[in-house]
Every structure is written in C-alpha cells, then in structure tokens.
C-alpha cells in the first residue's frame, strides 16, 4: 500500500507518542523523518509535550529503588563517548560557515586537510557515510561561535592542534609529526578530569606525518586533553606517563 506524502506527514503525532506499531508503516515514517527536517522538529516539539505529560503524572517509586539503581549502575559499564552519526538540523551547505572562520587561522588548515584526507581514503559507501558523519560533527565544532583553537607541543616531538567548542562539550584534535611507534603500540587520547579519566579514543595511523581528526564528546570544566602510548587496542586507563596534558579552557 502506498501512502501519500501528506498521510505520511500526519503520522508525526502518533510516532511521537510511540503509537505506531512496529512494521512497514513505522519504518517508512522513520525513513521519511531522516529526510524531512520540518517533521523532525515537529516530532521534537511533540516529545516535549509528552515530557510535560510525564511530569504531570510523576509518582514516587518505592524507597528501595534508588539504592538498587545506583548499585546496578556501579556494576554497569558505560558506552564510551562517540562520534554521532544521526542527522542533525544543518545548513544547506555545510562547508560555507567554515570559510570566514578559517581565514587567517593557518594552523586549522591541518584539520581541514585531515577532513579532506578522510574523504579521499573512503573506498566504500559505508566508509564514505562514516566520514561524512564525522565531518558533519567536525564542521559543527568548527562553526561553533565560541570555538577556540589550541596548539600544543607533544613531549618527544610533534604538535597537537585542538578545536574546542566548549559550549557543545566537544573537541576535534589532529596531530602532526608524532614519532612513529613500534608495532603493538598506539597513541591514545584521554579526557583527564577530576575524579575521572576517560578514553577519548585512539589516534588513527598517521599519513604523511599527520593523523586524521578525532572527535571527543563530553568535555567538561577542569578537563585536560591527554595523550599516552598504550598497547595495541588501547587501555581502559592510562598505563604510561602522558606526553601531552593540554588544559582545556571550558
């Protein structure tokens, strides 16, 4: 059965209230949603209505639940910060906002180059989509009104260049000229805060001395960006002395 566009559009309310049964209709609407910005913003607004309805029916769970939830959380491993790949509301031409901001900031050229390098390296559609998603996130960081550019030398050689969008709690980092590592070793980035240190991912292999941009989310006040050498695959917590500890002005 084919649905007219108008019919599809009118499902936004039922969708926002989880009133579409799983199946073809919901799948079709979900696909439509990723292409239709006005539908997505309508669904967002409706979900806020739903949230108000949830608050209106708030009730006190039994006293023991709090302890059970906190205890379970203490045993539960969290998913790491990640590159977000969902569609965001975006400008029609993602690249435009960079240009005025970038002019005069020579060091950022390395990030732009890293981004372009990513495109050039993609061979399959999946890889290309992945690179696109990452670049969208990077371009959002670069075009954030309060983005700050930081460069910092790395102990034993090389430089780290960071674009920090403090209000988005995100940063992008590229490095140039880091010494090559022996087999079985990798560079790993960290968000070093008090009291926690969180992995911000592994540095991808360098090409022409430069590593492709890495994104880190969840940057908070008091964090420093750290870099260590770790065994292949990375570590849960740093096992060597940081060769970079760049305080982040959040």
């Amino acid at each position: 059965m084919r649905l007219l566009r108008h019919d599809l559009h009118s499902l936004s309310g039922a969708y926002a209230l989880d009133a579409l049964e799983p199946g073809a209709e919901r799948d079709r609407f979900t696909r439509h949603l990723s292409r239709c910005q006005s539908c997505a913003s309508e669904v967002r607004g409706f979900r806020e209505v739903a949230t108000a309805m949830a608050f209106a029916t708030a009730a006190e769970p039994s006293a023991g639940l709090r302890d059970r939830v906190l205890a379970a959380a203490a045993r539960t491993r969290q998913v790491p910060p990640e590159v977000r790949t969902h569609a965001r509301p975006r400008r029609t031409r993602t690249w435009t906002p960079w240009v005025p901001w970038l002019s005069g900031v020579v060091a950022t050229a390395s990030i732009v180059a890293a981004v372009l390098f990513g495109f050039a390296q993609a061979h399959t559609q999946d890889e290309l989509n992945q690179v696109r998603a990452e670049n969208q996130a990077i371009s959002l960081i670069l075009s954030a009104p309060k983005a700050k550019l930081l460069t910092y030398p790395v102990t034993h050689g090389g430089m780290a260049t960071v674009v920090l969008a403090a209000d988005r709690h995100e940063l992008a980092v590229v490095t140039t000229g880091l010494p090559a590592l022996p087999a079985g070793k990798v560079y790993q980035l960290w968000l070093i805060g008090k009291p926690t240190i969180t992995s911000a991912g592994l540095l991808p292999p360098a090409k022409d001395g430069q590593t492709p941009a890495v994104l880190a989310t969840g940057v908070v006040k008091g964090d420093a960006l750290g870099l260590t050498v770790e065994p292949a695959g990375g570590s849960a917590q740093p096992t060597t002395k940081p060769i970079l500890a760049l305080p982040l002005p959040v």
């Binding site: 309310g13 039922a14 989880d18 209505v49 708030a58 009730a59 989310t217 969840g218 008091g222």
Partner: protein, 198 residues
C-alpha cells in the same frame, strides 16, 4: 577556576532550578563521564516522572519499578549518546521511558493482560483526572488537555498514558484510522502551543 569547587554548587543549583533543563543537560554530560554523584542528582530529578509514566502505561507497580530500573540504567549506560543539540535531557529520558513501557506492553507476556484492560476501558477523562495531582506541571497539562476537543484529548491520553497504538485507539473510539492520526497530531499541536514549548 578550581575544578573541584564547582561540583557541589552545580548540583545544588540543578536541584533548585524550577525546570532546570540546562542544568540537567550538563548533569548528563557528567554522567557520561562516569560521575556517580551526577547520576544520583539525575535520579532524584527524573525517577518520579519516569516511574509515573511507566506505571500509567503498565498499571502494575512492581513491573513498573522493574522497567523504571531498566530505563535509569540505560540512561547511565548510554549517557554519552545524549545530544543536547537534539533536545533536552528530560525529553531524552522520558522518550526512553515511554518507549520501554510500550515495548513491555507489546511483548507477548503482557498481551493477554492487555486484552483485558482494553475490554475494561471506559472513560479516559476520569483516568486523566485521577493521576493528575496539584503540581504545577500537572495543572498546566490538565488545563491544556481541557482545551482540546474530546476526540483529540481521548486519543492523546489513550495513546500516551494508555500505551495504545493509534490502531487500537481507532477501535476503541470507533473513529477511522485517518481521523485518529489527524486528531492526535492536531491535538499535540494545540498542546504544544498551550504549553508554550518551541
């Protein structure tokens, strides 16, 4: 300046703010970093509405607590996926909560129970009145629901609080599918304007 001194005061302001959406967003960013104190603050702010809406849909208190626990653990586990650019933290959490409740309702074990409740269904408006207490949120929501047409109000409450699909709502209210779709959407547009959300 000192990274250590900000925490206590931040959590305090997070609990004293009226709606405190922005602070809740920030709390979730800290939760994503494994900050258990921030998670406790999120629990204290959101466990009530999470449990409330789940119980509304599932009715059974102990099953509702079980699902509430699952939801809050998912918040802990996946806080890194929360994206403030897409919507507020409360909305993110409530969306997870409602969806989990619906999943439970539609699962096979709950299906029989469901049939019975559907058969028992009478007057949705009473059901709204029953749970809505004298809180500010509740008052606003009730006033806005009262501003809807009967069919709009009944379809929205049956879908959201009752956990019914719009097909079920169409059966219950004896109104065509196409009309229910539109009533839900029109009603939500009115609610949105009435509640003053963007």
């Amino acid at each position: 300046m000192n990274p250590n001194d900000s925490d206590a005061s931040r959590f305090k302001s997070a609990t004293t703010d009226r709606r405190g959406e922005r602070d809740l967003d920030l709390l979730l960013v800290h939760v994503a970093r494994g900050d258990t104190e921030a998670f406790e603050a999120v629990y204290d702010r959101l466990a009530g509405p999470v449990y409330g809406v789940i119980r509304r849909v599932l009715r059974d208190p102990s099953q509702s607590e079980e699902v509430t626990q699952e939801v809050l653990l998912e918040v802990w586990r996946t806080a890194a996926r929360f994206d403030p650019a897409v919507g507020g933290a409360a909305t993110w959490v409530m969306t997870i909560a409602h969806r989990r409740a619906i999943d439970r309702v539609r699962s096979t074990t709950a299906a029989a129970d469901r049939e019975r409740k559907t058969a028992e269904f009478h007057v949705p408006h009473d059901e709204v009145a029953e749970a809505v207490e004298a809180s500010l949120d509740a008052e606003r929501v009730r006033r806005c629901l009262d501003g809807l047409t009967d069919v709009q109000r009944e379809s929205i409450t049956l879908a959201y609080y009752g956990g019914h699909s719009y097909r079920e709502v169409s059966d219950l209210l004896k109104v065509t599918l196409g009309a229910i779709k539109t009533r839900i959407r029109d009603g939500l547009i009115r609610m949105r304007d009435c509640l003053g959300v963007s």
